[in-house]
């Protein structure tokens, strides 16, 4: 069973993604406190990480960087799911090692398609 870790400070985003992915048979681990992100990812060893960018304490970009710098989990694909929709932001996100940059508002259906594709391709 595939596993996805979703980190966002908005609970309804977590709820929505969790509902959508669970239905597709994907085990979802959600997290609101971004400061615990790295330890959770290291513990869970998911197939994919979906991160919000703008979070208090530790930003999604920093988490992405940390994941990519960690030898153990650096191969894990990371999606950035953020309200920052400018091209410059997208550039920064992809430079940090994110495999996909998805802007809010988003379609849960489309998200599931991309997630499935990444998990199946793995």
């Amino acid at each position: 069973m595939s596993k996805v870790v979703v980190i966002d400070d908005e609970p309804f985003i977590l709820m929505m993604i969790e509902d959508k992915l669970k239905k597709a048979g994907i085990h979802v681990v959600t997290l609101r406190e971004s400061r615990d992100a790295l330890s959770v990812i290291r513990r869970e060893k998911p197939d994919l990480v979906i991160l919000d960018w703008m979070m208090p304490e530790v930003s999604g970009i920093d988490i992405c960087r940390m994941v990519k710098a960690d030898a153990e989990i650096k191969e894990t694909p990371v999606f950035l799911l953020t309200a920052k929709g400018q091209d410059a932001d997208k550039q920064i996100g992809l430079q940090c090692g994110a495999s996909m940059y998805i802007t809010k508002p988003f379609s849960p259906k489309a998200l599931l398609e991309i997630v499935s594709k990444v998990i199946d391709g793995k």
Partner: protein, 965 residues
């Protein structure tokens, strides 16, 4: 083998001989022995043997003899051949070849002999050839020696002549033992005679007389020696010989003979002596010529010439007499003494133009000399000084001894006289020219000084009227004029009196139309050149004089074709004007014209410049100019203000040192083609937005326009940059962009809930309680969006000044009620203790009730949302002096220090934002509402302890509210 060696032949003969003798003996003996055996007695046998032996011996002897003969002949034949050959060589016939008869040792001897003969023949031929060559070279040497015209002697160690050439025999008239040419029979021979007798015609060697003998020297040193000897020739004639003596050495290097070559150089020496004499003459004349040509001071020249001549000719004294103007007397230029022309020796030299000398004067003759009997003069000479137009005087030299003047000295003296005459004439000419030159120079200096003074006065004068007065007085002084006046042409052909200077006390009171067509001034103006009236009384009446004047000069003042006016000088007596006076006046007029025109131009320029300056300083955009090296040349006031740098700190500095041009918002310097100022210096006008970085590092956004500065003559002298400070506009632009970005970002999150969740609801992916939860979230997020929009609208209305301030009394009690009503649910749920206090003085506060209510609702809402259960909220409104203080305090979570300064920023959600919902606009709106009332908002907080928000309003009463609008 037997044919090659004699011994083998002899051995062969012996063998034959032995065979011939022994075999018969052996046979005979055997036969006898046989017979003996058969019964013959021994005696018979012996006899038989004996008889046989004799016979055999006889034959053997014969055989031996014949063989000997044969071999002897064989040996004798080659020996004879050798003998014949040797005999013919002895007779000198070397062309002999012997035929070898055998191949034995004798045959070899003959072959060797043949080789010897042939070699001898070759050697003899070589010897003969060499001998012939030696003979030929010896003959050739003899010919060479005899061909040389110089005398050549070969001398041995006894100084005797061993050999001599033809020249020696011819010149000595002695016998030539060799019988060659020059032979004189009966005279003693040259050969064997002492060399000094032959070459020097002297009885004893020259070194005994103290002369150096080259022959002796060569024997002593072994080296070549050269010398010149003078000695008596035939008939006691003095002969000069140039002698060259060279050693002849044997194989060991010992000098065995000396070859002496004597060349007669008598004629050359005589020629050289004549040349030296000529040279001395020339040197004397040259040195005197140098004295004459070097000095233009006639007195010094004459003194030097006399001194030089006296020293050269060994005379005691000398001097010069010059013919006076009337040609009656001679004047001594050194002593001033005068002599009548005629009778005396100096006069004679002057009259005849020839050199006069007295070698030895007697006592009587002394009387005839002009120097008197007192002077003990024994010899003298007087040289005429010839000029181009006759004799100028006479130069004399005196001596107290008798003295004979040689022809050479006389020639020198005559030449010196000619030269001194011309020099004297030249000196006089020079003096005349010099005097003339000094006069002209003095005059030029005077004119120059006048012009200089005039120019400097005109150039330095700021008031042209005053300058013209001064100029006129200078001209009048220079010419000592009684009246000087300057008239200006007004362009309508009328002359207006501009300035007048008069020596007379009474003013002239000339009417305006005084200078009509009959005036000097008008005529000068029409002719466009100076008009001179030396005497009015001599004029035919066509020119009207000025009162009290007798002569006048009038000069037009013009530049190119344009005539500006005229100036005149009047004199009360007749006056002549020289050409240089007129010329001087014309120059003066030109200077005046330039000065007048310049001053007019200057005034015009000044007015234009003033206007340009006013415009320059008045425009609100910054403006500065640079030269072609980008050095700032001027800055206007607006530029000083915008840049915040005084003009003094900008002018004279390179533009890039003080005003750095960078791209808008970036760090890249704008240089080369990107810099509009550089482009303008290259003649290209351009406009660009950029940032200035001033020396303090401050960035100013500007919109820049640059254009080249082009001089009137078309040359590019720099560029001008006009700039407008667009920092504020840029900031507003930036803020707008940032705001839009932030708003769009903040809107995206609630929209995610609405779009995502509705999608899932439509797809029926959730149901039951979960679906309800989704719908509630959609509603909440929708409300949040709506709150954001209304807050944003409120803020934007307040910030843009569009918000209508609904003035009125603020009923805080009503607000408190509304607050309690609004938050009653949550207050109950969280068990919050809320207290409200309103001080009496605050009741009169006037403001916008709705806004104040919104403010307090926001603050209380924050306190409720950012706190746990059972917290306390205290709302206190009181007046302190002229300030109304609203304080909302809580015992909630408190705010981290990092977040405090950012609280009023739009959309800012602090660390606690995670736990609660919000737009991030509440406090920003509160601050704007406070500001709308002229108040301020402050937040104090400690994490974990609580927060106090204080809003200070100026206490508004009805009256001062009106004042503040």
């Amino acid at each position: 083998m037997f044919r090659n060696k004699l011994i083998y032949r002899l051995f062969l003969i012996l063998l034959v001989f032995a065979a011939a003798s022994i075999f018969p003996i052996v046979f005979a003996t055997r036969r006898e022995m046989k017979e003996l055996m058969e019964g013959i007695n021994v005696l018979q046998v012996r006899e038989h043997i004996f008889n046989s032996l004799i016979t055999i011996s006889f034959y053997v002897f014969i055989l031996a003899f014949l063989l000997s003969l044969f071999f002897s002949r064989k040996l004798l034949l080659p020996v004879r051949e050798l003998h014949r050959g040797a005999m013919s060589i002895r007779d000198g016939k070397l062309d002999v070849t012997l035929s070898p008869s055998s191949r034995d040792e004798l045959g070899e001897v003959i072959e060797v002999f043949n080789e010897m003969a042939s070699s001898l023949k070759g050697k003899t031929k070589e010897l003969e050839r060499k001998n012939r060559e030696i003979m030929e070279s010896r003959d050739f040497l003899e010919i060479i020696m005899d061909s040389i015209e110089d005398e050549i002697l070969i001398i041995d160690r006894d100084y005797r002549v061993v050999r001599a050439n033809k020249a020696v025999f011819e010149k000595s008239h002695r016998e030539n033992t060799l019988g060659g040419p020059g032979f004189t029979e009966g005279t003693p021979s040259v050969i064997g005679e002492y060399c000094h007798v032959i070459s020097h015609k002297m009885s004893r060697p020259c070194f005994l007389s103290g002369d150096e003998c080259p022959v002796k020297e060569v024997f002593a040193t072994g080296k070549t020696s050269r010398t010149i000897h003078q000695h008596g020739g035939i008939d006691d004639e003095q002969v000069v010989h140039e002698i060259l003596a060279c050693p002849i050495k044997d194989a060991q290097g010992n000098v065995i003979n000396v070859i002496e070559l004597l060349r007669n150089v008598t004629e050359v020496k005589l020629y050289e002596a004549a040349l030296a004499l000529k040279n001395r003459e020339l040197t004397a004349i040259n040195s005197i010529a140098a004295i004459l040509s070097h000095s233009l001071d006639s007195g010094a020249t004459i003194r030097n010439v006399v001194k030089k001549l006296a020293a050269m000719l060994d005379m005691d004294d000398g001097g010069i007499f010059i013919v006076d103007k009337d040609r009656k007397e001679l004047v001594c230029s050194l002593t001033g003494r005068r002599l009548p022309l005629g009778g005396n020796i100096p006069s004679r030299a002057v009259e005849t133009g020839t050199l006069h000398t007295i070698d030895n004067v007697g006592e009587e003759g002394k009387m005839a000399l002009p120097w008197g009997p007192g002077a003990d003069i024994r010899s003298c000479c007087c040289i005429p000084l010839k000029g181009r137009e006759g004799i100028l005087g006479s130069l004399y030299l005196l001596s107290c001894r008798p003295r004979v003047f040689s022809a050479e000295e006389k020639r020198i003296l005559t030449s010196v006289g000619d030269m001194a005459g011309i020099a004297l004439e030249n000196t006089r000419l020079y003096d005349r020219i010099n005097a003339l030159y000094e006069y002209q120079r003095g005059r030029r200096r005077q004119e120059h000084d006048s012009l200089l003074s005039l120019s400097s006065r005109l150039a330095s004068a700021s008031d042209i009227k005053g300058a013209i007065d001064v100029a006129l007085s200078l001209i009048a002084d220079s010419f000592k004029a009684d009246i000087a006046l300057l008239l200006e042409s007004d362009g309508n052909n009328r002359l207006i009196l501009r300035s007048i200077l008069s020596e007379y006390e009474d003013p002239l009171n000339l009417p305006d139309n005084y200078f009509g067509s009959d005036s000097v001034e008008r005529q000068a103006l029409e002719r466009k050149r100076p008009v001179v009236v030396p005497a009015f009384s001599h004029e035919s009446g066509s020119i009207r004089p000025l009162p009290l004047s007798e002569s006048a000069v009038s000069v037009p003042i013009s530049t190119g074709e344009k005539t500006l006016g005229v100036f005149s000088l009047y004199f009360k007596s007749p006056r002549e004007f020289r050409e240089e006076d007129i010329h001087f006046l014309e120059i003066t007029s030109s200077i005046l014209a330039v000065a007048i025109e310049r001053s007019e131009f200057y005034e015009k320029m000044l007015a234009e410049k003033m206007l340009a300056g006013i415009v320059f300083e008045s425009i609100s955009d910054g403006l500065y100019t640079v030269d072609t090296d980008c050095v700032i040349t001027s800055v206007n006031r607006a530029a000083e203000m915008i840049l915040g740098i005084p003009a003094a700190d900008l002018i004279g500095r390179k533009c890039k040192e003080v005003i750095i041009h960078k791209e808008t918002g970036g760090e890249r310097m704008l240089c080369g083609s990107e810099c509009p100022l550089s482009s303008a210096i290259r003649g290209v006008t351009s406009t660009k937005d950029m940032d200035y970085i001033d020396p303090s590092g401050r960035r100013i956004s500007v919109s820049v326009s640059c254009a080249p500065l082009i001089n009137v003559d078309g040359t590019l002298i720099g560029a001008v940059e006009v700039f407008r400070d667009i920092t504020k506009e840029k900031e507003i632009d930036r803020m707008k962009t940032e705001f839009v970005t932030t708003v769009s970002h903040e809107f995206r999150t609630p929209l995610s809930a609405i779009i995502g969740m509705t999608e899932m609801l439509i797809e029926r992916e959730v149901d039951g309680d979960r679906a309800r939860e989704y719908i509630e979230t959609i509603q909440n997020e929708g409300k949040r969006l709506s709150d954001m929009v209304s807050d944003l609208l409120d803020i934007s209305r307040i910030e843009s000044g569009e918000e209508i301030f609904r003035e009125g009394s603020v009923d805080f009690n009503e607000i408190f009620d509304d607050i309690k009503k609004t938050f009653s649910d949550i207050i109950g749920k969280k068990n919050i203790q809320m207290e409200t206090r309103l001080a009496g003085e605050a009741r009169g506060f006037r403001g916008d009730h709705e806004k104040v209510k919104q403010l307090l609702l926001n603050l209380v809402s924050n306190s409720i949302n950012y706190s746990d259960k059972n917290c306390m909220i205290d709302v206190d409104i009181r007046a302190e002096g002229q300030t109304l203080k609203m304080e909302v305090a809580d015992t909630g979570w408190g705010i981290p220090d990092d977040d405090l300064p950012l609280l009023t920023r739009k959309f800012f959600r602090g660390k606690h934002g995670l736990k609660t919902k919000g737009t991030g606009l509440g406090l920003s709106l509160c601050k704007d509402i406070a500001a709308l009332h002229g108040g301020t908002l402050r937040v104090r907080s400690r994490l974990g302890r609580g927060t106090i928000v204080t809003v200070d309003f100026p206490l508004r009463k009805t009256e001062n509210l009106k004042d503040n609008g």
